[in-house]
Amino acid sequence: MKAVVTVKLKPGVLDPQGKAIGHALEGLGFDGIADVRVGKVIELDLHETDPAAAREAAAAMARRLLANTVIESFDVTLA
């Protein structure tokens, strides 16, 4: 079963990359952008078939390695 871990910077953590992308989008003529934040999407293909166990396994991996919870938060979705 596939688990998708989405890692995002916590609110309040400066994201200069997001700011630069926002400026670039404005330069291309896209307006109405209040803010841009950049994160990561990590797809895990797990042998686990039980959804609850797969979700817990992915969350454990995120807490331990995939996200740095000092600066990042994460969500797990199953696909």
């Binding site: 953590v13 400066l14 200069p16 990359q17 630069a20 390695l65 995939l66 740095n68 000092v70 600066i71």
Partner: protein
């Protein structure tokens, strides 16, 4: 004092720091490959700069999980000395041996230039040969040196005197202009609660010989040489 330098794949300053350590300690550091787990006989563990594991996932994230880091953590828990420079500082935060995290530089640029550091306390094993408030020059070379911690952690670091060095201008004043990577409260280096683990972003090891253009970084290594180790 026997130093050991941890060598991860992708590290590139291990020889620089070995030269600086040997110059002050008078004996050659042991090079410790990241798969080793035996630190017996090592008083000071040094994690050098570079790009361990290609900075995959986050700077220092992969190295922090490697077998040798469990041994380094145990060494620190026993009261052993640990110095992390640049990527080494990032690895120490990822391993949760020091608080906070190093974010992308606020200006997004990789910074390869000298900065000025102010010594916030001169009563540690890493800074005894400096004066408190002394300003010294240090090269820096990093893309992710923007120190971040939440406000409570920053207040605790300041309150407990665990800020080792700050980015300042040449006169020693803390300013936004001197804070090239955007670090919280101009913090360039932090200490553990027992003052035996230091992480800093700039490279004092690259200014330890007149041929390098100065010896501003040498007192840090001389400080380590000055302490007796049983």
């Amino acid at each position: 004092m026997q130093a050991g330098i941890i060598v991860f794949p992708g590290i590139n300053r291990e020889r620089d720091i070995a030269m600086a350590l040997e110059g002050s300690l008078g004996r050659r550091p042991r090079m410790i490959w990241h798969r080793e787990t035996d630190l017996a006989g090592v008083d000071l563990v040094v994690i050098p700069g570079g790009f361990s594991y290609g900075d995959y996932l986050r700077c220092g994230a992969m190295a922090a999980q490697s077998p040798v880091m469990r041994a380094v953590s145990a060494h620190a828990a026993r009261g052993g000395y640990v110095l992390g420079v640049c990527n080494g500082f990032q690895i120490l935060t990822e391993a949760q041996m020091l608080p906070g995290a190093l974010l992308r530089n606020a200006g997004l640029r990789f910074l390869s230039m000298d900065c000025h550091l102010r010594v916030e306390r001169a009563d540690t094993v890493f800074s005894g040969q400096y004066q408190r408030g002394q300003v010294f020059r240090a090269p820096m070379a990093h893309g992710d040196g923007n120190y971040f911690a939440d406000a409570d952690t920053l207040d605790r670091l300041e309150g407990e005197g665990l800020v080792a060095f700050r980015y300042v201008d040449a006169s020693g004043a803390v300013s936004g202009a001197a804070n090239l990577n955007g670090s919280a409260r101009n913090i360039a280096g932090v200490l553990s609660a027992n003052l035996r683990v230091l992480g800093l972003m700039p490279h004092p090891e690259n200014l330890v010989d007149p041929l390098m253009g100065g010896v501003d970084g040498k007192p840090l290594f001389d400080s380590l040489a000055a302490i007796g180790v049983a």
